[in-house]
């Protein structure tokens, strides 16, 4: 076991390894912080966390669970894209093929659907937890705003994904939803026309919702997620409450 760790330390001190991860081996706090700070992905997170912040009661891990839902949705969504054509009426047939013909298709589709429902639920629960614990207060007020943007992105992702099966429920839900959008003063009808790419929910609308759902909204989500996690570190770590905040 010790030999294995020594071997690993040897690998971490090679030129190739250190060209990728500049902090070589080392057990000191400095080395460990450098390893985190010098990694573009890890640097979003804190080098150190308080033990109390890892307890279930503080967060119920709702933010992490929301991220977990998002990651499941990205993986299953990309796989579903391999069998789905965003065209009329092929989209409906592809959805049915995923359910009855494609191996593991029904599993992936249901995993995508249930994870989407779960993510909306978890994001709301996360926001309620943050709100009722007062974790939105300064210095974390900007991260709350980022969180509101992420809630909106989650809801838009949910809404745009709803049209893609191209069944009766999808068609009428988007008809109703886009007519609600048309209630915006002055610009409503124009916004509806641009979103649908026409006057009715049709092939253009399906394609626009597909591009929004699979490209634009996920990119926005990833961007804001990165800022959201980085701000946790910048705002002094997770909020752990007044009494134990020493």
């Amino acid at each position: 076991m010790i030999n294995l760790l020594e071997e690993l330390a040897g690998v971490r001190n090679t030129r190739v390894w250190r060209s990728v991860f500049r902090a070589g081996s080392g057990e000191s706090n400095l080395h460990r912080s450098l390893a985190v700070q010098q990694n573009v992905f890890l640097h979003l997170a804190s080098v150190k966390v308080r033990r109390r912040a890892l307890e279930v009661g503080v967060t119920w891990y709702l933010g992490t669970l929301s991220l977990g839902g998002f990651l499941i949705l990205v993986v299953t969504g990309i796989l579903l894209m391999l069998y789905y054509h965003p065209s009329v009426p092929q989209a409906y047939a592809d959805m049915k093929d995923l359910q009855f013909v494609v191996s593991a298709g029904v599993f992936l589709r249901n995993l995508h659907r249930w994870s989407a429902h779960a993510m909306v639920l978890l994001v709301f629960a996360h926001m309620f937890k943050v709100f009722y614990r007062g974790a939105y207060r300064p210095p974390r007020e900007f991260n709350w705003v980022i969180g509101v943007v992420l809630l909106m992105v989650t809801l838009f992702l949910s809404y745009t994904g709803y049209l893609l099966p191209w069944d009766q429920l999808a068609f009428w839900a988007i008809t109703v939803g886009s007519n609600i959008l048309a209630a915006v003063p002055l610009l409503g009808a124009k916004i509806r026309f641009l979103i649908l790419g026409g006057h009715t929910v049709n092939a253009n609308a399906l394609l626009r919702f597909y591009v929004l759902h699979c490209v634009i909204l996920p990119l926005i989500a990833v961007l804001f997620l990165a800022v959201h996690f980085w701000r946790i570190r910048k705002d002094g770590g997770l909020y752990i409450g007044e009494k134990t905040n020493e």
């Binding site: 009428w172 109703v176 886009s178 007519n179 609600i180 790419g197 026409g198 049709n202 253009n204």
Partner: protein, 164 residues
């Protein structure tokens, strides 16, 4: 501006500031013009110029297909062709609430929306429900071949009947 920048003492004189300011102004101006242009092009690009949507004019066939005291739904076109005591007229079947397709209920003699429960008389007047307006009347006429035509693009301001 490039001539001034070539001056050897431009690094220390007050002219550096004006050069910097002029450069910033030109840069911001260029970005603003590019931004406005992109917004216009983006808006134009996102607005389709050709739509492959069904024509708003519906050919409903010969008027004698619609006997007196009848309501004939055409869900594909989203209309009801009604032959009442005063003549034939056409109602839009699209609910004025949020755009769902309403349904003719012959057993009740009313039109009802499945989405949020609006109910209408066969003359379009609202009985109850969230719908803000009556079902619109659509322009209906008979062409030279004797076919009933309906224009779905605009609601009629005043009631019109086709009498055969």
């Amino acid at each position: 501006m490039p001539d001034q920048m070539k001056k050897p003492d431009s690094g220390t004189g007050p002219c550096v500031e004006c050069n910097r300011r002029a450069f910033t102004k030109a840069g911001v101006g260029a970005i603003a013009i590019a931004g406005a242009g992109s917004a216009v092009f983006g808006y134009e690009f996102l607005s389709p110029n050709v739509l492959y949507e069904p024509s708003p004019i519906v050919d409903a066939g010969k008027p004698d297909r619609y006997p007196p005291d009848s309501v004939t739904p055409d869900p594909q076109s989203g209309i009801y062709i009604v032959h009442g005591p005063e003549g034939i007229y056409t109602l839009s079947a699209v609910c004025t609430h949020l755009g769902c397709l309403t349904a003719w209920k012959p057993e009740l003699g009313i039109i009802a929306c499945p989405c949020h429960g609006s109910k209408f008389h066969t003359n379009g007047v609202k009985i109850e429900g969230p719908a803000p307006r009556p079902l619109p009347w659509l322009r209906t006429w008979v062409d030279d071949d004797g076919n009933l035509l309906i224009d779905r693009s605009e609601p009629l301001a005043r009631k019109q009947f086709v009498r055969i």
